[in-house]
């Protein structure tokens, strides 16, 4: 894995500067059933295609941002610092 990822602050940087935090998930409310909770904590869609995911510029400016990446080609379609309201929303 050696693709470039565009940090919203720093521009295109090698991917090893970043920490990957997995796909953007939908966090269930506090009254979630055990099944909903288990789905959220343990299961991921793992799509073969475009995925919204969290990245952290660990050795750079330390910003959390969301990237849209094609998991088949590692092409990063766009990156953005999500507005808080939209961040937790699913794809």
């Amino acid at each position: 894995m050696s693709f470039l990822l565009s940090c919203p602050h720093c521009g295109p940087r090698p991917v090893d500067e970043f920490r990957f935090q997995g796909e953007v998930t939908r966090r269930p409310g506090p009254d979630a059933s055990l099944r909903e909770l288990t789905d959220y904590v343990y299961f991921r869609d793992n799509v073969a295609g475009v995925q919204r995911e969290w990245w952290y510029h660990r050795t750079g400016c330390k910003v959390w941002f969301v990237a849209e990446r094609d998991t088949r080609t590692n092409e990063v379609l766009r990156t953005e610092i999500p507005s808080p309201a939209g961040a937790a929303a699913p794809r």
Partner: protein, 842 residues
């Protein structure tokens, strides 16, 4: 043994260079390679082959074949034909029992044939099963090439250099140079031979190892690995001369045309006395041979049959179209094959072109171009897959000693695709990575299966393109160490320093038991600068912390401290520490020593989702911290500060800003070690002043070991030591930190579902169990010990253990396996020492 001065020769005859081969002193010239100097000194056998230990000599002279691999200055598998000669270099044979000339293992070639067919180790050595360890030992000894020597002193230091260019040209031939010269702007040319003067940047001698995604090209240049990120890549890797397939095609004296050319033109050595030329490409070296005074005994462009014959592995004659010709040099050419591997790695399609009998790259990915011979700019006619002729072995792959017979056998056994045949016979898997055998293997499979080459295809091209030392890929040995501002104090005191994560910490100062006693009876001082320290500030800070922790902090009064555990949304314990409220909108959070970075990332992630108006600042490195603990803490600290330390004005779990020895400190009255204590946080630069003043006031420095005993006496948990990724707040008996009436916090959803398969309890015993010892109940494992120490104060062994809930009762007897024997221990739920916490509050 040198020729007269040749036009354009690379050697400098005025600069002789001494070196040793197998202990003998030899001389070469500056500009020689180790291989050319050895050849000039009369050496013909350079190595023994991988499996049959057949003698092998110079073949390609361009670093592409395995024939010249020797051990140079202790480094195995150096291709000496391209390794520049350095003064005093020590060259040795490898993969031999004896010497390259007389290798006892050569017997494998004579008698091993019927016993060592391809894949023999899968079949013949499986019975009797008992004997496998013996077989394995023998095989391990025989397998592989070279020996890795003592590398403690290293083969030099390896480094990595990162570089960015707009255009990277790989290959310094005419096509590559023209491509580089045509670029207007930032261009770098990588050349695996000596460099040349040019108006553009040249990196040489250096080899591109592969093309990775994002235009990343690792380039090996001596002991430096360049990681080059290129906007555009131009591949100009040229074409590779191919060997012909005929009996005896590996004999010493068989050479490729380019090898002959280099030998005469660059190093002025005579490659042989009497030569036979076979193939279109071979005829081209007539000029060199004439200049070198080599007699040309015969030449054939496209012979029907050919076999080479020799004595002791060295060529003596050939049978060319039925006619015997004596010779000691056979120049053969199986045509050229574009060097497409880097392009294939980048994603190009590789197609067979029957008209010229080569594989050519097509459908190049974006940002990658190919020029010159690598693109297929070659004019030639295809050659036969195998030339008829009887006699010696006929090798498809000289790296791994795979013969045509082996490939036929693999086919007969059903391994009929090139990828299967590769895995079974290991053809194309040797050091040359298919440079000499890929095309030959495809042709042979096509002929044997009655299909054509495009149906057979090629094996997947993978990096690295040339063999590379592992050290180069690993880069320089790099183990970052974090030292606290008080590190020199610990060293002066003769502390034993240990690693805790990346931190260096004082483990003990000579007598941990005495250090424990000092804290209990008088006064101790420990450096806790390694604690993670985080400021959370802003109008949203109270609400943010309430949502990050199961505990509540919005109702914490300024100047007060509360313990907090960080959990995941699955309810698992991640980290712990204290939270001090310094103002309405300012909190000072501490984390475990190893957890600070992870906790800060975790906090920031959640706030990126929630968007509270709060800043999270990691001040771990900016601040030092030390814990002054013991019954004398107050009286020792009082003279150093103007602050009122009376128990009523500076209570347990108070946080105050006070000056100590003139240094502004944040003093937290907390007690991980169970005695009256003040944790002093101060600017890192001033830490020594505070430390020295406290030591002068009578505090005994204590280390990590004493702290572990002291905290265990209090039953205080170390996250990561006593908890693991399965532990939750209920099973760890810390449910009191959960404030479930909050509308939301990370892990709230999991609270109703938290399962308690085990509980964390204290125990006392008479024998010290190791950490990880099993708790056994009714003959099965029912838990494990996480911490155990001998406590002088308690007068027994104390510890923490996870046990099944049924036996997690005060006073219950549990059995712990120690050295194979069952030892009784008694469960204790309260702290072993001062369970009411009177001392902390005193």
């Amino acid at each position: 043994m040198r020729l007269r001065s040749q036009p354009g020769e690379r050697i400098d005859r005025s600069h002789p260079i001494q070196f040793t081969y197998a202990g003998k002193e030899l001389t070469g010239f500056a500009g020689d390679t180790v291989g050319s100097a050895l050849f000039a000194a009369g050496r013909r056998v350079f190595s023994r082959s991988f499996k049959y230990h057949r003698p092998r000599g110079l073949l390609c002279c361009s670093g592409r074949c395995p024939n010249c691999m020797m051990t140079v200055d202790g480094v195995p598998n150096v291709r000496v034909c391209v390794e520049l000669l350095r003064p005093g270099v020590d060259v040795r044979d490898q993969n031999v029992l004896g010497s390259a000339d007389r290798d006892l293992l050569g017997v494998v070639d004579k008698v091993g044939g019927p016993f060592t067919p391809v894949g023999f180790y899968y079949r013949t050595m499986i019975r009797p099963r008992r004997a496998w360890p013996l077989y394995e030992k023998v095989l391990r000894n025989l397998a592989g090439l070279g020996r890795i020597g003592d590398t403690r002193n290293g083969h030099g230091r390896f480094d990595t250099v990162h570089r960015r260019v707009d255009v990277l040209v790989i290959g310094g031939g005419p096509a590559g140079r023209a491509a580089a010269a045509a670029v207007d702007g930032d261009v770098l040319l990588v050349d695996d031979r000596v460099g040349h003067d040019a108006p553009y940047d040249v990196l040489a001698p250096a080899t591109a190892l592969g093309i990775y995604e994002g235009g990343l090209v690792p380039v090996a240049a001596g002991n430096v690995l360049y990681r080059i990120r290129a906007g555009r890549i131009v591949v100009a890797t040229g074409a590779l001369e191919q060997l012909l397939l005929f009996s005896g095609n590996d004999l010493v004296g068989v050479m490729l045309p380019d090898g002959v050319r280099r030998m005469v033109d660059e190093w002025a050595v005579k490659p042989g006395d009497r030569a036979v030329l076979v193939g279109e490409g071979a005829v081209g070296v007539k000029l060199q041979l004439a200049r070198a005074g080599v007699e040309i005994a015969a030449a054939s462009l496209r012979p029907e049959s050919l076999s080479a014959h020799g004595r002791r592995g060295r060529l003596t004659s050939v049978l060319l179209d039925g006619e015997r010709v004596d010779c000691d040099l056979l120049v053969v050419s199986g045509g050229l094959q574009p060097a497409y591997s880097l392009l294939a790695q980048a994603g190009a399609r590789i197609e067979y072109e029957p008209r010229r009998g080569i594989f050519v790259p097509t459908e190049l990915p974006d940002g990658v171009a190919v020029v010159g011979a690598a693109a297929g700019g070659i004019d030639q006619t295809p050659v036969a897959a195998v030339l008829d002729g009887r006699g010696d072995k006929c090798f498809v792959c000289i790296c791994e000693d795979v013969t045509t017979k082996d490939v036929k056998r693999a086919l007969a056994e059903g391994f009929d695709s090139i990828e299967l045949a590769k895995r079974y016979t290991t053809v194309t898997m040797g050091p040359c990575q298919g440079k000499l055998c890929q095309l030959a293997a495809t042709r042979l499979l096509a002929r044997e299966t009655d299909t054509d080459e495009s149906a057979i295809g090629t094996t997947t091209a993978r990096p690295p393109w040339t063999p590379v030392e592992l050290g180069l890929l690993a880069g320089r040995h790099h183990e970052p160490a974090k030292r606290t501002p008080l590190h020199s104090r610990h060293e002066t005191l003769g502390a034993e320093m240990i690693w805790t994560g990346q931190w260096r910490r004082a483990f003990q100062y000579g007598d941990p038991a005495a250090e424990v006693r000092a804290v209990h009876e008088s006064l101790g001082l420990i450096d806790v600068s390694t604690l993670g320290k985080v400021l959370v500030e802003g109008p949203g800070a109270p609400a943010l912390l309430d949502r990050l922790y199961p505990n509540r902090f919005s109702d914490l009064k300024p100047g007060r401290i509360r313990y907090g555990v960080v959990t995941s949304d699955g309810g698992r314990i991640m980290d712990d520490g204290t939270v001090a409220r310094l103002g309405d909108e300012l909190f000072y959070v501490t984390t475990t020593s190893t957890g600070s970075e992870g906790v800060v990332e975790w906090f920031e992630w959640w706030n990126a989702i929630w968007g509270y108006d709060a800043e999270i600042v990691n001040v771990t490195g900016a601040l030092a911290a030390m814990n002054l603990a013991g019954p004398r803490a107050r009286e020792a600290l009082a003279p150093l500060t103007g602050a009122d330390l009376a128990n009523e004005s500076f209570r347990y779990l108070d946080a105050k800003e006070i000056a100590v020895a003139g240094v502004p400190c944040l003093a937290l009255r907390i007690g991980f070690v169970g005695e009256l204590g003040y944790e002093l946080h101060c600017p890192a630069a001033d830490a020594g002043v505070v430390w020295d003043a406290l030591v002068a006031a009578g505090a005994t420095p204590f280390g990590l070991e004493a702290q572990r005993v002291l905290r265990l006496e209090k039953g205080h948990v170390i996250v990561g030591q006593d908890t693991d990724s399965e532990s939750n707040l209920v099973s760890a008996r810390m449910q009191w930190t959960i404030k479930d009436d909050k509308p939301d916090f990370v892990g709230k959803g999991a609270v109703p579902h938290l399962q308690v398969r085990e509980r964390l309890v204290g125990f006392t015993a008479d024998v010290l169990p190791p950490e990880g010892a099993q708790v056994v109940r009714e003959g099965r494992i029912a838990g494990r010990v996480t911490s155990a120490r001998v406590s002088e104060r308690v007068g027994r062994v104390i510890g923490l253990a996870w046990v099944e809930p049924e036996i997690a009762e005060e006073g219950a007897t549990i059995a712990i396996r120690v050295d194979g024997a069952m030892r009784d221990a008694a469960v204790t739920l309260a702290a072993f020492y001062d369970p009411e916490g009177t001392l902390l509050r005193s």
